[in-house]
Amino acid sequence: MSKPSFVYVTYIETTPEKVWNALTDPEMTKDYWVRHRNRSDWKPGSAWRHEDYEDAAKLDIVGTVVASDPPRRLVLTWAFPGEASDPNKVSRVTFDIDMFKGAVRLTVTHDELEPDSGMLRGITAGWPLVLSSLKTMLETGAAMPMTRQRWTDEN
C-alpha cells in the first residue's frame, strides 16, 4: 500500500533564486548533474525532460511539471522514458526551497516510488551526489569534478 520515499535535506549558503536557477538552467545542471540538462518551460502541466547535455536524443528521465512556484517549490513527475505510461512506475519529486537561519534549506522529497525497483536504488545513490555537488557549486563557484562528466552507472 504505502510506496517508498526518499528525503534529503541540505543547507546552502546562497539565495532561493540561485537554487531555483540551478535546478532549471541547463548551463548549471550540466556541471553538478553529471552532464545533463533539464528542459522545460517550467509551467504547471508542461512536460519536462532530463537529457544528455551533448545529445538531446538521449533521454534519461521524463515527466510533467505538477507545480511550479519560483523560487520556492517545484513538483515534477519522474519516470524512465520507457516506463512513463505505466502509472505504477511514475514517481514524484518535490523541491522545497526556503530560508532557515541564514541559509537556504533545500528539501528534496522523492516519493511514490516502486518498492525494490532499480529507480529506488538509483535515486538513493544519485540524489546525495547531485545535491552535494549543487551545494559545492553554489558555495565555491565550481561543482565537484565527478559530477561534471557523464557517469557510467555503477550504483
Binding site: 537561519k101 541559509a103 552535494s132 569534478p145
Partner: protein, 173 residues
Amino acid sequence: MDASKANPSFVYVTYIATTPEKLWQALTDNAFIRQYWSGTVIESDWTAGAPMRFVHDGVLHNTGEVLACEPGRRLSYSWHVEFHEVFSREKPSRVTFEIEPMGAEVKLTITHDAFEPGSKVLEAVRDGWPSILASLKSLLETGRALALTSPEAMEGAKKEAIARAERNAAPSA
C-alpha cells in the same frame, strides 16, 4: 538502507571536496567540531572503549563510548542524550561515520541506528544531522561553517527539539 519499521535508522550520505585525513580531523578535533556543531566540544581520547562527553557552554549534552576508531576510515560511538528527560530516558543509540575516497572527493556516510521503537532521539537527529553535515561540508570546502550552526543557534535548536519531542509524546490518536 531503507527504514524498516522494525529497525528504524537514519542514513545520510554527503560528498565533500577534501581528503579522508582532513575529514577525520574535522570529526575528531574540537577546533573544527565547535565550528560546525554549534560550539559543541567532544571530550575523549578517541580510542576504542574510551568514554565521550559532548559539552556545550559547560553543559553536558551527550555521553557515549567510542565503539570503533580507524583513522581516515571509520568512526563509531554510542549516543546517549543527557540534556532533557524526554531523551535521556531512552537507551543509547549508535552513530557510525564511514569515509571512502571517491575520485577527487570523499564520500561520507552517517548511519545513526540502534534506536528504541518510537524513539524521540531519532526524530531529533533526523533534523540535526543534515544541518551539522551541511555545515561540516561548507567548513571543509570554503573555510567557513554555516551561521545556522553558530554557538548562539544551539539554545533555539535544543528548545525546538524538546518541544517537538514532548508534543509527539502526547497520547497518540
